[in-house]
């Protein structure tokens, strides 16, 4: 009987360890997923900035002569 009790204690302890490890693993994966989702959300502002740069700076620059580049840059700075 003492043997059986020892086995039972050991089995319970192993089950507890496995449960804890699985919990930690899921928690860690959730944290990582949350961080990755947040990283993707940040792309929204980045895309908006890029689109704004193309529409308001690159396209006007492409239409101008070199002498007018400063004027285009100054205008863009004044509206951001």
């Amino acid at each position: 009987m003492p043997d059986l009790r020892t086995h039972l204690v050991k089995a319970r302890s192993a089950a507890r360890r496995a449960h804890t490890a699985r919990g930690t693993g899921v928690r860690a994966r959730l944290d990582a997923l949350e961080a990755e989702v947040q990283e993707n959300r940040r792309l929204n502002r980045r895309i908006a900035e890029l689109t704004d740069l193309v529409a308001e700076l690159v396209v006007p620059l492409a239409r101008r002569e070199d002498a007018e580049v400063h004027e285009v840059l100054a205008r863009y700075r004044s509206i951001i």
């Binding site: 929204n44 502002r45 908006a48 900035e49 704004d52 740069l53 509206i79």
Partner: protein, 531 residues
């Protein structure tokens, strides 16, 4: 009378905070010499202890708590006064405690913990100016910005509840419901709206991808901010900046109705009461100067991810450049400036990124170099401008937010089109940047210098065993792995021309045990690099 004297049974006041009996549970307003300064809820804000509940003074208030004042603790709306006593804070001083701005206007702690002017302490003429200015902003947003803007937050609450501005409020908040349902489009629309306001002659400050402030200059020289917040739906969830999110039907917002605020009729949400219940909860009809928002965590996280993240440290930098500590930054040039000066030619242009107080920018100007300076902090830009004005009439000081691609690209293009040789100089700037901002710095440097048009001079505080991760000022920077920085630069096409590792100095010229100095150049033209 000392700061630890017991005033009335169970009430203590000290430099650390206030201790009240556990029986006080309602909102408590705090006044100095009869002027409102702050309010709190003991059950929410105070910590229980053996002597009662202790609430600490707000951080914004603490530096000003020096002098004698008549302290009043009261419960608003009931006429109940707990304490009304003369006290001394900040040691034995004879002067009255003064809580005023540089123009002598009284200040109070607002609902986000900042020290600001509140309407209760603003005279009638100024209140009328603010009200009429707000009406003009609303009209321009609707007529020229093409959005159905409406009164929001405290102004709406005041208008519906009592037809007047709320005494503890400090600004005017306006909102508009965007028809866009993708965050990218929401941001772009906000940019367009800001431009419409600029075209009308307003001055603005952008706060995030979804809100900006319109500056109202008052007759007394003071500036009041009118916030313009976007509201929008994504997947059926309603979001309204600041940080509100949840369920609110579209019919509660548009078509807009009107409310009367201090005699002026202004646009309001279609169902103002539904909006107020959404923003302030079901108890919105009962005044609570200590009110704080409790927003759903998921909604705040989404708004942070979609719209924010590039100016998180800016308030702390502004606070530093306004603090007495910034006055301790030596006026004389740094050792790194001298090191750099030896490596550039007379007539070269120096562009300093992150000049702070402007000590090194002024040194380069005095040495006869044309100087341009860029900084994120308006307070740093003012300091640099003042220093440069004394040293050179031709220098330009502009805004650069390295986390925001638009200012990065326009700055890179401005420097790239300068004539002659130009160098970028950044002392300890990289320690203050997050990963994205640091990569933008390398992009900017490549735009400005590609094709061997000058060097990038960097000094940074680097990691070493036993050294704390955070660096001065105010722990706003962190040490970096020098090898990692070099590897990143190389990925952007940079060649390290010179590197020196060893002891150096921090922003205040105190010893920094381990720093790295780099002179790098970008030999290839744009488009020929990996990153």
């Amino acid at each position: 009378m000392t700061t630890t004297d017991q005033l009335v049974d169970g009430y203590h006041v000290g430099d650390h905070g206030l201790t009240l009996p556990g029986t006080v549970s309602g909102v408590v307003t705090v006044s100095f010499d009869g002027r409102y300064v702050w309010s709190f809820q003991p059950l929410r804000d105070a910590r229980p202890g053996p002597a009662g509940r202790t609430v600490v003074w707000p951080a914004a208030l603490r530096p000003h708590l020096r002098g004698r004042t008549r302290l009043t603790l009261a419960e608003p709306g009931t006429g109940r006064t707990y304490v009304d006593q003369e006290v001394v804070l900040g040691g034995e001083v004879a002067e009255r405690l003064r809580l005023e701005d540089p123009h002598g206007h009284p200040l109070a702690v607002n609902k986000v913990g900042n020290l600001t002017r509140v309407f209760a302490e603003t005279d009638g003429a100024a209140r009328a100016e603010i009200l009429h200015g707000t009406a003009r902003v609303l009209d321009d947003l609707r007529t020229h910005g093409g959005v159905e803007a409406y009164l929001g937050y405290g102004c709406l609450l005041g208008a519906v509840r009592e037809g007047a501005m709320i005494g503890t409020d400090c600004d005017a908040d306006l909102c508009y419901l965007s028809e866009r349902t993708h965050p990218v489009d929401v941001v772009r629309e906000s940019y367009a709206l800001e431009r419409a306001m600029l075209a009308r002659g307003w001055r603005t400050v952008r706060m995030s991808g979804g809100d900006f402030k319109v500056l109202l200059r008052l007759g007394d020289g003071r500036t009041v901010y009118v916030d313009v917040f976007v509201a929008f739906y994504v997947d059926g969830v309603f979001y309204q900046l600041g940080n509100r999110s949840g369920r609110l039907p579209r019919e509660a917002i548009t078509p807009t109705s009107t409310v009367v605020l201090e005699g002026v009729e202004l646009p309001a949400p279609a169902d103002p009461e539904a909006m107020l219940a959404f923003v302030y909860g079901p108890g919105w009809r009962v005044p609570d100067p200590s009110f704080r928002f409790t927003d759903p965590r998921g909604g705040v996280r989404r708004l942070d991810g979609w719209l924010r993240g590039y100016r998180d440290d800016l308030p702390a930098w502004n606070a530093f450049f306004r603090s007495p500590e910034a006055d301790e930054v030596p006026r004389r040039r740094s050792d790194f400036a001298r090191w750099t000066r030896r490596r550039i030619l007379r007539g070269d242009t120096v562009v300093e990124l992150g000049p702070g107080t402007g000590r090194d920018a002024a040194f380069f100007a005095r040495q006869g170099h044309r100087v341009h300076a860029y900084d994120i902090s308006p307070d740093a830009r003012s300091r640099t401008q003042r220093r440069l004005r004394r040293s050179s009439g031709t220098s330009a000081v502009r805004r650069l937010m390295l986390g925001e691609l638009r200012t990065v690209v326009v700055t890179g293009a401005e420097i790239g089109t300068l004539s002659g040789r130009r160098h970028l100089y950044a002392r300890r700037l990289v320690n203050a940047l997050d990963d994205e901002a640091r990569r933008n710095l390398w992009r900017l440097a490549r735009m400005a210098l590609a094709g061997d048009r000058g060097s990038l001079f960097l000094e940074l505080s680097v990691l070493a065993p036993g050294l704390p991760d955070r660096v001065e000022p105010a722990g706003l920077g962190r040490r970096l792995d020098a090898e990692g920085v070099v590897a990143e630069l190389q990925a952007y096409g940079a060649h390290v021309q010179e590197r020196r590792d060893g002891p150096g100095t921090d922003v205040l010229d105190r010893p920094d045990p381990w720093t790295c100095r780099l002179q790098v150049h970008f030999p290839r033209t744009l488009g020929a690099t990996r990153a």
